[in-house]
């Protein structure tokens, strides 16, 4: 049993019991909120169609692999193992893709190897940046994102370098 399988039922039951205790019609509130969720979804779909079309083309064309090779020397300089380059490219655009790349790295190098640990920490300390930006700004009706993308990418890059640093710090390399 994982922790998250305990959290969700407890949260749902807890909120319902607490609400009923306060004499709130929890079921009416639930369905009303769910209706609002549906209208949010309508705004997310166009943003995702745009993003996933480009990502899918990018991977199929081989451009992703080429970029990985291009970045390898720079990564070496930052102390990031170059084997993780594909993971860093996929991470900002696809959560499932990143999970797939990371499990592949762990299978090839071993989960307790330097590369395997760095891959796991990278996955745990970053998010699916472009997906998040597309969904948030898409649903809020924002077209001018200003400095969000560079700031978010700065966070990602720092997270990747920090992942390698933290693994060396806690485990040696």
């Amino acid at each position: 049993m994982s922790l998250s399988s305990l959290v969700i039922p407890v949260l749902l039951a807890g909120v319902a019991v607490y609400g009923l205790g306060k004499r709130v019609d929890v079921y009416a509130a639930l369905t009303h909120g769910a209706e609002e969720g549906l209208s949010v979804l309508l705004r997310i779909v166009p943003a995702l169609v745009g993003l996933l079309t480009a990502v899918s083309m990018f991977r199929a064309s081989g451009a992703m692999e080429w970029l990985s090779g291009l970045f390898a020397p720079a990564l070496d300089l930052l102390g990031i193992p170059p084997e993780t380059a594909p993971l860093m490219l996929v991470r900002p655009v696809s959560g499932n893709g990143a999970l797939a790349v990371a499990s592949d790295l762990m299978a090839v190098h071993g989960p307790d190897s330097y590369v395997g640990r760095v891959a796991a920490v990278m996955l745990g300390s970053t998010e699916t940046t472009f997906y998040t930006i597309a969904v948030y700004f898409g649903s809020a009706g924002i077209t001018k994102t200003r400095h969000t993308v560079p700031a978010a990418l700065a966070a990602d890059l720092t997270g990747f370098a920090a992942a390698a640093l933290a693994v060396r710090l806690f485990f040696g390399s």
């Binding site: 994982s2 922790l3 909120g33």
Partner: protein, 193 residues
Amino acid sequence: MEMAWVWTGMVTLSLAFGLLTGNLDAVANAALEGARSAVELSLAMAGVLCLWSGVMEIMNACGLSAGLARLFRPLLRRLLPKASRDPETLAAVSANVSANLLGLGNAATPLGIRAARRMARGCGGIASDELCRLVVLNTASIQLIPATIASVRAAAGCETPFDILPAVWLASVLSVAAGLTAERLLSHGRRRV
């Protein structure tokens, strides 16, 4: 505008690589496949999105979110001073932060969207500094227990899948700090809203 550059760059590079490597068939298929998978993904998250929007509504109605907001208010008042003045936005952001810490990404997104929609009202489609900050915060990971990653490590044959926790926390803190610092520095260089 950045998304326009990213999108055009990715599509153009894909075309160029497709032509160079002779993968053009695969690229063409991938474009259609990507669009189809976007709708599939949207449908897959529809139920969860509606469920957590509903739970948020219950939490609003019975005063739970107000309690949560009080807990996070000292921190959020510094981070998002304008948004924190609106009680409902503050409640949504607080719930968003709590869900992120618990690692409930699927729950965090609808809550964060709710806050983002309120913060975007009357701004004519231009993101304010605080909205940028909220999104940057959500593009960086702040989860305390990365359960999914631990399960991937365990699946790969690791006996102590949680031994990376301190490393994950350190990397997360550094990454969030870098994101917020970059947001603050860059906002001065551009038009303030």
